[in-house]
Symmetry: C2
Subunit: 189 residues, 2 copies
């Protein structure tokens, strides 16, 4: 099941780690569309070396996102679910994390489609995290029926995409999320 690298030659291992560190920096600053050639140059390797370790931009991104995935999982566990505002806060945190890097929400959305996308793990992790929070909210009596977490995830991704494209003020993002939460907890039958 594990796709972790087995035993790399010492120089290869070092290069790999250095590329990953540099990529994290550069992507944090410039977004998920940052130049791969620039990352290679800053890491002190030829472009071919980057491609050898990470055959696609998504493969690189997936590894960079490892710490990101942890943040989502932690946030889900510690998220309070006492009031409806708590849930709006949670969605906001989810959207905020999803747009932690510019272009990330779009990259994630694109990966929904693709069964083989390297980003699938990150995507599934955020979906599971979200399901967990809403399940806890239901157990706490805050909402009275199950919500479809796939739909929630897609909606929140949409909010994140608009927010980062248009650099919306936080209260406009919150308005969007509140509508979504109201829609989720209103019976539509």
């Amino acid at each position: 099941m594990s796709t972790e690298p087995r035993e790399l030659r010492a120089d290869a291992r070092e290069n790999r780690l250095r590329i990953l560190a540099v990529a994290t920096d550069v992507i944090e600053q410039q977004g998920t569309m940052a130049s791969l050639n620039e990352i290679a140059k800053r890491a002190g390797v030829g472009p071919g070396t980057l491609y050898r370790h990470f055959p696609s931009r998504e493969a690189l991104l997936a590894e960079v996102l490892a710490t990101w995935v942890k943040r989502v999982e932690e946030a889900a566990q510690s998220a309070p679910v006492r009031t409806r505002d708590d849930l709006v806060d949670w969605l906001g945190r989810l959207a905020g994390i999803a747009s932690g890097y510019r272009g990330l929400a779009a990259s994630m959305a694109a990966s929904m489609d693709d069964e083989a996308s390297p980003l699938r793990h990150a995507h599934r992790a955020s979906l599971v995290a979200n399901t967990l929070v809403f399940e806890r909210a239901r157990e706490a009596g805050l909402i009275d029926h199950a919500v479809d977490s796939g739909t929630v995830a897609r909606l929140v991704t949409g909010v994140a995409m608009v927010a980062e494209q248009a650099t919306l003020p936080p209260e406009q993002v919150r308005d969007m999320l509140r509508v979504i939460l109201d829609g989720l907890t209103a019976r539509s039958d």
Copy 2:
């Protein structure tokens, strides 16, 4: 108020129209990120000529969108507002038009920010159209309070962005829109 071209030399006028026609074709096929050099080449002009007529990709896009704007306005006027499903349909049509070209929803979202964006007209038109539909729904007694059309527009843009990035099946899009509509018509106080 009008920024229409005044009196162009005959060859310039012809070039301009040909660029526009070709751009409409190419953008329809390849999306809003289509190569400008390719558009110029297909239109039989040098790249400099395209830039002379349309100083930015957005300026070109704004003109290509003229017929698009008409479609939104017509759709708004003829949209039935008798049932809640009618409203979901309307949002679906809006989202569908917004992603008529691949990348259009993202381009529109980016223009929300920028006061001087050439896409502002198209964006405002869709906002006005949406306000019109919901106002008619309110008059028809379908909903009982005003909705914030800015928030609606942003949410629908988000749905359109996710839908085209992930190429979602129609029923998933509909699920998203239904949640939004429920959220809009539920009292949140």
